[in-house]
Amino acid sequence: MKIMNGFRALCIALLTLSLPALAEVEFQGFASFVGGVVVDSDDAYDGLSSDNRIGGYTDTLEYDKNSVYGLQAVSRLGDGLTATGQIIARGSENYKPEFEWMYMTYNLTPTLSAKFGRIRTPFYMLSEYLEVGYTYHWIRPPQELYAAQITNMDGASLLYNVPMGAVDGQFVVSLANRNDYSEDPTLTTSEFKSIVAVTGQFEFNGHSTKLIYVQGDLTLEGTAISGAETTYTGLGVDAAFVAEHVSIQDKQLIFTGIGFDLNFYPLKVILEYSKLDFDEILLIASKETRSLASVVYSFGDTNVSYSLSGNKKEGDSAIENNAPAGFEAAIAGAISDVDREVTTHTLGLRHDFHDSAAVKVELISTEETKLDTNATLIRFGVDMLF
Protein backbone atom coordinates (compact mmCIF):
# COMPACT_ATOMS: atom_id res chain seq x y z
CA MET A 1 0.00 0.00 0.00
CA LYS A 2 2.81 2.28 0.95
CA ILE A 3 4.45 1.45 -2.35
CA MET A 4 1.21 2.26 -4.21
CA ASN A 5 0.99 5.61 -2.47
CA GLY A 6 4.59 6.32 -3.28
CA PHE A 7 3.99 5.34 -6.89
CA ARG A 8 0.94 7.58 -7.10
CA ALA A 9 2.86 10.50 -5.60
CA LEU A 10 5.67 9.91 -8.08
CA CYS A 11 3.22 9.88 -11.00
CA ILE A 12 1.66 13.13 -9.87
CA ALA A 13 5.10 14.67 -9.36
CA LEU A 14 6.23 13.53 -12.83
CA LEU A 15 3.06 14.82 -14.47
CA THR A 16 3.31 18.23 -12.89
CA LEU A 17 7.02 18.36 -13.59
CA SER A 18 6.87 17.21 -17.17
CA LEU A 19 3.99 19.43 -18.28
CA PRO A 20 6.00 22.64 -18.58
CA ALA A 21 8.85 20.71 -20.22
CA LEU A 22 6.47 19.18 -22.78
CA ALA A 23 5.19 22.63 -23.61
CA GLU A 24 8.62 23.47 -24.98
CA VAL A 25 8.59 21.11 -27.94
CA GLU A 26 9.65 23.08 -31.03
CA PHE A 27 8.63 22.01 -34.51
CA GLN A 28 10.50 22.79 -37.66
CA GLY A 29 9.98 21.41 -41.10
CA PHE A 30 11.17 21.25 -44.65
CA ALA A 31 9.64 20.23 -47.91
CA SER A 32 10.74 19.54 -51.45
CA PHE A 33 8.25 19.13 -54.23
CA VAL A 34 10.03 17.79 -57.29
CA GLY A 35 8.86 16.81 -60.74
CA GLY A 36 10.89 15.19 -63.47
CA VAL A 37 10.72 13.57 -66.85
CA VAL A 38 13.18 11.71 -69.08
CA VAL A 39 13.32 13.64 -72.34
CA ASP A 40 15.76 11.50 -74.27
CA SER A 41 17.01 7.96 -73.78
CA ASP A 42 18.03 4.90 -75.73
CA ASP A 43 16.43 1.43 -75.73
CA ALA A 44 18.38 0.18 -72.75
CA TYR A 45 16.85 2.90 -70.66
CA ASP A 46 15.05 0.42 -68.36
CA GLY A 47 18.40 -0.71 -67.07
CA LEU A 48 19.20 2.85 -66.13
CA SER A 49 15.97 3.12 -64.26
CA SER A 50 16.43 -0.06 -62.24
CA ASP A 51 19.93 1.09 -61.25
CA ASN A 52 18.18 4.17 -59.89
CA ARG A 53 20.63 6.22 -61.90
CA ILE A 54 18.01 8.67 -63.05
CA GLY A 55 16.02 8.40 -59.86
CA GLY A 56 13.43 6.06 -61.34
CA TYR A 57 12.06 8.72 -63.70
CA THR A 58 10.32 7.72 -66.93
CA ASP A 59 9.27 9.53 -70.07
CA THR A 60 6.05 10.53 -68.32
CA LEU A 61 6.20 13.53 -66.02
CA GLU A 62 6.21 12.32 -62.41
CA TYR A 63 6.13 14.19 -59.13
CA ASP A 64 6.82 11.61 -56.44
CA LYS A 65 10.36 10.32 -57.10
CA ASN A 66 12.30 13.04 -55.28
CA SER A 67 9.58 14.77 -53.30
CA VAL A 68 10.26 14.76 -49.56
CA TYR A 69 8.45 16.19 -46.56
CA GLY A 70 10.08 16.37 -43.14
CA LEU A 71 9.05 17.46 -39.70
CA GLN A 72 11.41 17.76 -36.77
CA ALA A 73 10.48 18.06 -33.12
CA VAL A 74 13.01 19.14 -30.53
CA SER A 75 12.44 19.21 -26.82
CA ARG A 76 15.00 20.79 -24.53
CA LEU A 77 14.71 19.04 -21.22
CA GLY A 78 17.23 21.26 -19.41
CA ASP A 79 20.70 20.56 -18.03
CA GLY A 80 22.07 19.89 -21.50
CA LEU A 81 19.61 17.08 -22.37
CA THR A 82 17.70 17.36 -25.65
CA ALA A 83 15.39 14.95 -27.46
CA THR A 84 15.17 15.24 -31.25
CA GLY A 85 12.88 13.36 -33.60
CA GLN A 86 12.65 13.75 -37.34
CA ILE A 87 9.85 12.21 -39.37
CA ILE A 88 10.37 12.00 -43.10
CA ALA A 89 7.90 11.02 -45.81
CA ARG A 90 9.54 10.28 -49.15
CA GLY A 91 7.61 10.22 -52.39
CA SER A 92 9.75 7.29 -53.52
CA GLU A 93 8.41 5.31 -50.55
CA ASN A 94 4.77 6.26 -51.16
CA TYR A 95 5.00 9.10 -48.56
CA LYS A 96 5.03 6.51 -45.79
CA PRO A 97 6.18 8.59 -42.80
CA GLU A 98 8.98 7.08 -40.74
CA PHE A 99 11.30 8.18 -38.00
CA GLU A 100 14.47 9.03 -39.87
CA TRP A 101 16.03 10.06 -36.58
CA MET A 102 15.09 9.78 -32.97
CA TYR A 103 17.81 10.52 -30.51
CA MET A 104 18.78 12.11 -27.24
CA THR A 105 21.66 14.54 -27.10
CA TYR A 106 23.50 15.17 -23.90
CA ASN A 107 26.00 18.02 -23.61
CA LEU A 108 28.90 16.68 -21.59
CA THR A 109 30.97 19.89 -21.82
CA PRO A 110 30.51 23.14 -23.82
CA THR A 111 32.26 21.43 -26.77
CA LEU A 112 31.55 17.72 -26.28
CA SER A 113 28.16 16.08 -26.73
CA ALA A 114 26.85 12.54 -26.98
CA LYS A 115 23.92 11.25 -29.03
CA PHE A 116 21.98 8.03 -28.46
CA GLY A 117 19.33 6.60 -30.71
CA ARG A 118 18.68 6.54 -34.44
CA ILE A 119 21.29 8.74 -36.07
CA ARG A 120 22.49 9.56 -39.59
CA THR A 121 25.12 7.46 -41.36
CA PRO A 122 27.90 9.96 -42.09
CA PHE A 123 28.89 8.76 -45.58
CA TYR A 124 29.05 12.18 -47.22
CA MET A 125 29.84 15.85 -46.95
CA LEU A 126 26.10 16.64 -46.91
CA SER A 127 24.93 13.47 -45.13
CA GLU A 128 23.32 15.17 -42.21
CA TYR A 129 21.03 17.43 -44.20
CA LEU A 130 20.64 15.25 -47.28
CA GLU A 131 16.85 15.70 -47.39
CA VAL A 132 16.89 19.45 -46.78
CA GLY A 133 17.10 20.62 -50.38
CA TYR A 134 17.01 24.29 -49.35
CA THR A 135 20.55 24.00 -47.94
CA TYR A 136 22.23 23.15 -51.26
CA HIS A 137 22.08 24.12 -54.93
CA TRP A 138 21.03 20.76 -56.40
CA ILE A 139 17.50 19.41 -56.42
CA ARG A 140 19.09 16.22 -55.00
CA PRO A 141 22.86 15.70 -54.77
CA PRO A 142 24.16 13.69 -57.76
CA GLN A 143 23.41 9.98 -57.33
CA GLU A 144 26.76 8.86 -58.68
CA LEU A 145 28.27 9.92 -55.35
CA TYR A 146 25.26 10.24 -53.04
CA ALA A 147 24.22 6.64 -53.64
CA ALA A 148 23.98 4.87 -50.28
CA GLN A 149 20.67 3.31 -49.30
CA ILE A 150 21.65 3.21 -45.66
CA THR A 151 20.79 6.72 -44.48
CA ASN A 152 20.49 6.03 -40.77
CA MET A 153 21.63 3.66 -38.05
CA ASP A 154 20.91 2.85 -34.42
CA GLY A 155 23.62 3.51 -31.91
CA ALA A 156 25.61 6.21 -30.21
CA SER A 157 27.93 8.98 -31.31
CA LEU A 158 30.26 11.47 -29.70
CA LEU A 159 30.67 14.93 -31.22
CA TYR A 160 33.67 17.02 -30.27
CA ASN A 161 34.15 20.62 -31.41
CA VAL A 162 37.80 21.63 -31.30
CA PRO A 163 38.84 25.20 -32.07
CA MET A 164 42.39 25.26 -33.47
CA GLY A 165 43.31 28.91 -33.96
CA ALA A 166 41.26 30.18 -36.90
CA VAL A 167 40.29 26.60 -37.82
CA ASP A 168 37.16 25.01 -36.34
CA GLY A 169 37.56 21.27 -36.05
CA GLN A 170 34.70 18.88 -35.46
CA PHE A 171 35.17 15.19 -34.83
CA VAL A 172 32.40 12.60 -34.67
CA VAL A 173 32.84 8.97 -33.67
CA SER A 174 29.82 6.65 -33.98
CA LEU A 175 29.15 3.01 -33.13
CA ALA A 176 25.92 1.58 -34.52
CA ASN A 177 23.94 -1.12 -36.34
CA ARG A 178 21.27 -0.93 -39.00
CA ASN A 179 18.71 -3.70 -39.54
CA ASP A 180 16.25 -3.89 -42.45
CA TYR A 181 17.63 -0.85 -44.25
CA SER A 182 16.46 -1.88 -47.71
CA GLU A 183 13.09 -1.07 -49.22
CA ASP A 184 13.58 -3.92 -51.71
CA PRO A 185 10.70 -6.37 -51.06
CA THR A 186 12.70 -9.33 -52.46
CA LEU A 187 15.25 -9.00 -49.66
CA THR A 188 14.34 -10.88 -46.49
CA THR A 189 17.39 -9.62 -44.63
CA SER A 190 19.32 -6.39 -45.16
CA GLU A 191 21.69 -5.59 -42.33
CA PHE A 192 24.68 -3.34 -41.90
CA LYS A 193 26.17 -4.16 -38.52
CA SER A 194 29.13 -3.39 -36.27
CA ILE A 195 29.37 0.05 -37.87
CA VAL A 196 32.30 2.19 -36.79
CA ALA A 197 32.25 5.67 -38.30
CA VAL A 198 34.79 8.42 -37.78
CA THR A 199 34.60 11.83 -39.41
CA GLY A 200 36.71 14.96 -39.07
CA GLN A 201 35.50 18.27 -40.41
CA PHE A 202 37.60 21.43 -40.58
CA GLU A 203 36.33 24.91 -41.31
CA PHE A 204 38.49 27.88 -42.11
CA ASN A 205 37.36 31.26 -43.32
CA GLY A 206 34.19 29.94 -44.96
CA HIS A 207 35.89 26.92 -46.53
CA SER A 208 35.47 23.44 -45.16
CA THR A 209 36.80 19.95 -45.66
CA LYS A 210 35.56 16.62 -44.34
CA LEU A 211 37.35 13.31 -43.95
CA ILE A 212 35.19 10.22 -43.65
CA TYR A 213 35.83 6.61 -42.61
CA VAL A 214 33.07 4.04 -42.14
CA GLN A 215 33.35 0.30 -41.72
CA GLY A 216 30.64 -2.27 -41.15
CA ASP A 217 29.48 -5.80 -41.91
CA LEU A 218 26.85 -6.33 -44.58
CA THR A 219 24.38 -9.22 -44.69
CA LEU A 220 21.86 -9.58 -47.51
CA GLU A 221 19.39 -12.44 -47.98
CA GLY A 222 16.72 -12.68 -50.61
CA THR A 223 15.46 -14.44 -53.71
CA ALA A 224 18.17 -13.10 -56.04
CA ILE A 225 20.97 -14.19 -53.73
CA SER A 226 19.51 -17.57 -52.82
CA GLY A 227 18.82 -18.08 -56.54
CA ALA A 228 22.47 -17.44 -57.36
CA GLU A 229 23.56 -19.78 -54.54
CA THR A 230 21.33 -22.55 -55.96
CA THR A 231 22.58 -21.96 -59.50
CA TYR A 232 26.27 -22.08 -58.55
CA THR A 233 25.74 -25.12 -56.30
CA GLY A 234 23.73 -26.84 -59.06
CA LEU A 235 26.56 -26.27 -61.52
CA GLY A 236 28.86 -28.11 -59.13
CA VAL A 237 30.73 -25.18 -57.64
CA ASP A 238 31.96 -26.19 -54.19
CA ALA A 239 30.10 -25.05 -51.10
CA ALA A 240 33.11 -23.17 -49.68
CA PHE A 241 33.29 -20.93 -52.75
CA VAL A 242 29.53 -20.29 -52.66
CA ALA A 243 29.64 -19.42 -48.94
CA GLU A 244 32.65 -17.17 -49.40
CA HIS A 245 31.87 -15.34 -52.61
CA VAL A 246 28.19 -15.82 -53.55
CA SER A 247 26.44 -15.53 -50.19
CA ILE A 248 26.54 -12.10 -48.57
CA GLN A 249 26.92 -12.89 -44.88
CA ASP A 250 28.84 -10.50 -42.63
CA LYS A 251 30.89 -9.14 -45.50
CA GLN A 252 33.01 -6.21 -44.46
CA LEU A 253 32.58 -2.89 -46.23
CA ILE A 254 35.13 -0.13 -45.83
CA PHE A 255 34.05 3.31 -46.97
CA THR A 256 36.46 6.22 -47.17
CA GLY A 257 35.72 9.70 -48.40
CA ILE A 258 36.99 13.24 -48.62
CA GLY A 259 35.12 16.40 -49.49
CA PHE A 260 35.86 20.09 -49.97
CA ASP A 261 33.45 23.01 -49.90
CA LEU A 262 35.31 26.12 -51.05
CA ASN A 263 33.65 29.52 -50.99
CA PHE A 264 34.99 32.44 -53.01
CA TYR A 265 31.75 34.38 -53.15
CA PRO A 266 30.15 34.70 -55.71
CA LEU A 267 31.92 31.50 -56.74
CA LYS A 268 31.64 28.22 -54.84
CA VAL A 269 33.41 24.94 -55.58
CA ILE A 270 32.46 21.53 -54.18
CA LEU A 271 34.70 18.50 -54.63
CA GLU A 272 34.01 15.07 -53.22
CA TYR A 273 35.47 11.64 -53.64
CA SER A 274 34.63 8.34 -52.02
CA LYS A 275 35.78 4.78 -52.28
CA LEU A 276 34.02 1.56 -51.26
CA ASP A 277 35.83 -1.70 -50.66
CA PHE A 278 33.81 -4.85 -50.13
CA ASP A 279 35.12 -8.23 -49.13
CA GLU A 280 35.31 -10.39 -52.26
CA ILE A 281 31.67 -10.73 -53.37
CA LEU A 282 30.63 -11.93 -56.79
CA LEU A 283 27.19 -10.27 -56.94
CA ILE A 284 28.20 -6.76 -55.86
CA ALA A 285 31.05 -4.77 -57.32
CA SER A 286 33.83 -5.13 -54.77
CA LYS A 287 35.45 -1.83 -55.65
CA GLU A 288 33.53 1.33 -56.24
CA THR A 289 34.86 4.83 -56.71
CA ARG A 290 32.60 7.89 -56.73
CA SER A 291 33.57 11.41 -57.65
CA LEU A 292 31.87 14.76 -57.84
CA ALA A 293 32.95 18.26 -58.83
CA SER A 294 30.53 21.16 -58.80
CA VAL A 295 30.89 24.87 -59.51
CA VAL A 296 28.24 27.37 -58.44
CA TYR A 297 28.11 31.03 -59.43
CA SER A 298 25.72 33.37 -57.61
CA PHE A 299 24.03 36.50 -58.92
CA GLY A 300 22.23 37.73 -55.81
CA ASP A 301 19.19 35.51 -55.31
CA THR A 302 19.93 33.37 -58.34
CA ASN A 303 22.70 30.88 -58.95
CA VAL A 304 23.80 28.70 -61.81
CA SER A 305 25.79 25.52 -61.39
CA TYR A 306 27.51 22.80 -63.31
CA SER A 307 28.34 19.43 -61.81
CA LEU A 308 30.30 16.50 -63.14
CA SER A 309 29.79 13.24 -61.28
CA GLY A 310 31.16 9.78 -61.88
CA ASN A 311 30.68 6.31 -60.50
CA LYS A 312 32.90 3.37 -61.36
CA LYS A 313 32.17 -0.17 -60.18
CA GLU A 314 34.54 -3.08 -60.61
CA GLY A 315 34.31 -6.73 -59.70
CA ASP A 316 37.19 -8.11 -57.68
CA SER A 317 39.50 -10.10 -59.97
CA ALA A 318 41.05 -11.72 -56.88
CA ILE A 319 37.92 -13.94 -56.72
CA GLU A 320 39.08 -15.50 -60.00
CA ASN A 321 42.09 -16.99 -58.21
CA ASN A 322 39.72 -18.93 -55.95
CA ALA A 323 37.55 -20.17 -58.83
CA PRO A 324 37.08 -23.96 -58.70
CA ALA A 325 38.72 -25.87 -61.56
CA GLY A 326 36.60 -25.76 -64.69
CA PHE A 327 34.70 -22.62 -63.64
CA GLU A 328 37.42 -20.03 -64.26
CA ALA A 329 35.82 -18.57 -67.37
CA ALA A 330 32.31 -18.46 -65.86
CA ILE A 331 33.59 -16.78 -62.70
CA ALA A 332 35.67 -14.28 -64.70
CA GLY A 333 32.51 -13.47 -66.68
CA ALA A 334 30.48 -13.00 -63.49
CA ILE A 335 33.16 -10.69 -62.11
CA SER A 336 33.19 -8.44 -65.15
CA ASP A 337 29.36 -8.49 -65.27
CA VAL A 338 29.19 -6.08 -62.36
CA ASP A 339 31.55 -3.55 -64.00
CA ARG A 340 29.88 -0.20 -64.59
CA GLU A 341 31.12 3.26 -65.42
CA VAL A 342 28.74 6.18 -65.24
CA THR A 343 29.42 9.82 -66.08
CA THR A 344 26.80 12.47 -65.47
CA HIS A 345 26.66 16.18 -66.28
CA THR A 346 24.19 18.37 -64.40
CA LEU A 347 23.30 21.96 -65.26
CA GLY A 348 21.35 23.67 -62.54
CA LEU A 349 19.54 26.91 -61.83
CA ARG A 350 18.31 28.02 -58.41
CA HIS A 351 16.31 31.12 -57.60
CA ASP A 352 15.42 32.15 -54.05
CA PHE A 353 12.03 33.74 -54.56
CA HIS A 354 11.40 33.92 -50.82
CA ASP A 355 13.52 34.01 -47.64
CA SER A 356 12.60 30.40 -46.93
CA ALA A 357 11.97 28.99 -50.36
CA ALA A 358 13.81 28.35 -53.60
CA VAL A 359 12.78 27.16 -57.02
CA LYS A 360 15.20 24.96 -58.99
CA VAL A 361 15.57 23.50 -62.47
CA GLU A 362 18.09 20.87 -63.56
CA LEU A 363 19.12 19.32 -66.84
CA ILE A 364 20.87 16.00 -66.24
CA SER A 365 22.65 14.01 -68.89
CA THR A 366 23.95 10.60 -67.89
CA GLU A 367 25.94 7.98 -69.76
CA GLU A 368 27.08 4.45 -68.92
CA THR A 369 29.96 3.13 -70.99
CA LYS A 370 29.91 -0.63 -70.19
CA LEU A 371 26.31 -1.17 -71.29
CA ASP A 372 26.45 1.85 -73.59
CA THR A 373 23.28 3.50 -72.34
CA ASN A 374 22.42 7.16 -71.89
CA ALA A 375 19.54 9.36 -70.82
CA THR A 376 18.65 13.01 -70.40
CA LEU A 377 16.41 14.12 -67.61
CA ILE A 378 14.75 17.42 -66.74
CA ARG A 379 13.90 17.94 -63.11
CA PHE A 380 12.36 20.95 -61.38
CA GLY A 381 11.23 21.63 -57.88
CA VAL A 382 10.55 23.91 -54.96
CA ASP A 383 12.41 23.59 -51.64
CA MET A 384 11.21 25.27 -48.51
CA LEU A 385 11.75 25.55 -44.78
CA PHE A 386 8.95 26.12 -42.33
Binding site: Y103, P163, Y297
Partner: protein
Protein backbone atom coordinates in the same frame (compact mmCIF):
# COMPACT_ATOMS: atom_id res chain seq x y z
CA UNK B 1 35.24 38.55 -68.97
CA UNK B 2 31.70 39.77 -68.53
CA UNK B 3 31.30 37.33 -65.62
CA UNK B 4 34.44 38.72 -64.04
CA UNK B 5 33.22 42.27 -64.47
CA UNK B 6 29.86 41.29 -63.02
CA UNK B 7 31.60 39.73 -60.02
CA UNK B 8 33.77 42.79 -59.55
CA UNK B 9 30.75 45.10 -59.66
CA UNK B 10 28.95 42.94 -57.12
CA UNK B 11 31.99 43.06 -54.84
CA UNK B 12 32.25 46.83 -55.20
CA UNK B 13 28.55 47.23 -54.42
CA UNK B 14 29.04 45.08 -51.31
CA UNK B 15 32.01 47.15 -50.16
CA UNK B 16 30.12 50.40 -50.71
CA UNK B 17 27.07 49.04 -48.94
CA UNK B 18 29.15 48.07 -45.93
CA UNK B 19 30.27 51.63 -45.29
CA UNK B 20 26.63 52.67 -45.04
CA UNK B 21 25.92 50.21 -42.21
CA UNK B 22 26.29 51.14 -38.57
CA UNK B 23 29.06 49.89 -36.30
CA UNK B 24 27.98 47.28 -33.73
CA UNK B 25 29.23 46.78 -30.17
CA UNK B 26 29.31 43.27 -28.71
CA UNK B 27 28.09 43.36 -25.12
CA UNK B 28 28.27 41.01 -22.10
CA UNK B 29 27.43 41.18 -18.41
CA UNK B 30 29.93 43.40 -16.49
CA UNK B 31 31.04 40.38 -14.40
CA UNK B 32 32.11 38.47 -17.55
CA UNK B 33 35.94 38.45 -17.60
CA UNK B 34 36.40 36.39 -20.80
CA UNK B 35 38.63 37.78 -23.53
CA UNK B 36 36.50 37.66 -26.68
CA UNK B 37 38.00 38.16 -30.12
CA UNK B 38 36.14 37.84 -33.43
CA UNK B 39 36.72 34.05 -33.68
CA UNK B 40 35.48 33.43 -30.14
CA UNK B 41 32.37 35.60 -30.66
CA UNK B 42 31.65 33.97 -34.00
CA UNK B 43 31.91 30.46 -32.46
CA UNK B 44 29.39 31.35 -29.76
CA UNK B 45 26.91 32.92 -32.21
CA UNK B 46 27.22 29.98 -34.63
CA UNK B 47 26.56 27.45 -31.87
CA UNK B 48 30.01 25.85 -32.15
CA UNK B 49 30.57 26.23 -28.43
CA UNK B 50 28.17 26.61 -25.56
CA UNK B 51 30.64 28.26 -23.15
CA UNK B 52 32.74 31.41 -22.78
CA UNK B 53 36.51 30.94 -23.25
CA UNK B 54 36.97 32.05 -19.62
CA UNK B 55 34.32 29.59 -18.37
CA UNK B 56 30.57 29.74 -17.78
CA UNK B 57 27.63 29.04 -20.10
CA UNK B 58 27.35 31.31 -23.13
CA UNK B 59 23.88 32.11 -24.53
CA UNK B 60 23.95 34.33 -27.63
CA UNK B 61 21.09 36.70 -28.37
CA UNK B 62 20.62 38.38 -31.72
CA UNK B 63 18.21 40.61 -33.67
CA UNK B 64 15.49 39.78 -36.15
CA UNK B 65 16.69 39.00 -39.68
CA UNK B 66 16.81 42.05 -41.87
CA UNK B 67 17.58 44.60 -39.15
CA UNK B 68 20.58 46.87 -39.87
CA UNK B 69 22.62 45.70 -36.89
CA UNK B 70 21.87 42.02 -37.63
CA UNK B 71 23.08 42.51 -41.23
CA UNK B 72 26.26 44.24 -40.08
CA UNK B 73 27.01 41.66 -37.36
CA UNK B 74 26.33 38.73 -39.72
CA UNK B 75 28.69 40.17 -42.30
CA UNK B 76 31.59 41.48 -40.24
CA UNK B 77 31.66 39.00 -37.36
CA UNK B 78 30.15 35.80 -38.78
CA UNK B 79 31.54 36.47 -42.30
CA UNK B 80 28.29 35.27 -43.89
CA UNK B 81 25.52 36.75 -46.00
CA UNK B 82 22.02 36.62 -44.44
CA UNK B 83 21.18 33.83 -46.89
CA UNK B 84 24.27 31.82 -45.97
CA UNK B 85 23.37 32.25 -42.31
CA UNK B 86 19.84 31.02 -42.99
CA UNK B 87 21.19 27.95 -44.77
CA UNK B 88 23.75 27.42 -41.98
CA UNK B 89 21.02 27.32 -39.32
CA UNK B 90 18.86 25.07 -41.46
CA UNK B 91 21.79 22.61 -41.47
CA UNK B 92 22.34 22.96 -37.73
CA UNK B 93 18.63 22.59 -36.90
CA UNK B 94 17.99 19.58 -39.08
CA UNK B 95 21.13 17.80 -37.95
CA UNK B 96 20.09 18.36 -34.34
CA UNK B 97 23.37 20.19 -33.70
CA UNK B 98 21.85 23.42 -32.54
CA UNK B 99 19.20 26.10 -32.82
CA UNK B 100 19.64 29.74 -33.81
CA UNK B 101 19.93 32.36 -31.05
CA UNK B 102 16.81 34.03 -29.70
CA UNK B 103 15.95 37.12 -31.76
CA UNK B 104 15.04 40.48 -30.27
CA UNK B 105 13.74 43.67 -31.87
CA UNK B 106 15.11 46.59 -29.82
CA UNK B 107 18.59 47.57 -28.62
CA UNK B 108 17.02 48.47 -25.24
CA UNK B 109 15.65 44.90 -24.83
CA UNK B 110 19.13 43.55 -25.59
CA UNK B 111 20.85 45.80 -23.03
CA UNK B 112 18.22 44.93 -20.44
CA UNK B 113 18.61 41.17 -21.01
CA UNK B 114 22.43 41.14 -21.05
CA UNK B 115 22.70 43.38 -17.98
CA UNK B 116 20.64 40.88 -15.96
CA UNK B 117 22.29 37.57 -16.84
CA UNK B 118 26.03 36.75 -16.94
CA UNK B 119 25.40 33.95 -19.48
CA UNK B 120 24.06 36.25 -22.21
CA UNK B 121 26.08 37.81 -24.99
CA UNK B 122 24.56 40.17 -27.53
CA UNK B 123 25.25 43.23 -29.63
CA UNK B 124 23.77 46.67 -30.20
CA UNK B 125 24.33 49.58 -32.57
CA UNK B 126 27.37 51.43 -31.18
CA UNK B 127 26.22 54.31 -29.01
CA UNK B 128 23.18 52.38 -27.67
CA UNK B 129 25.11 50.34 -25.10
CA UNK B 130 23.69 52.19 -22.10
CA UNK B 131 24.65 51.33 -18.55
CA UNK B 132 24.93 47.91 -16.94
CA UNK B 133 26.74 46.06 -19.75
CA UNK B 134 30.37 45.68 -20.83
CA UNK B 135 31.49 46.27 -24.42
CA UNK B 136 34.01 43.56 -25.41
CA UNK B 137 34.51 44.41 -29.08
CA UNK B 138 33.33 46.72 -31.85
CA UNK B 139 32.94 45.80 -35.51
Amino acid sequence: MRLLRHGFMALLALLLASTALAEVSVIVHPSNASVLDKDAISRIFLGKTRGFPGGGDAIPVTFKDGSASSKEFTKSVLSKSPKQLKAYWAKMIFTGKGTPPKQLEQDSEMVDLVSKNPSFIGYVTSGNEGAGVKVVAKF
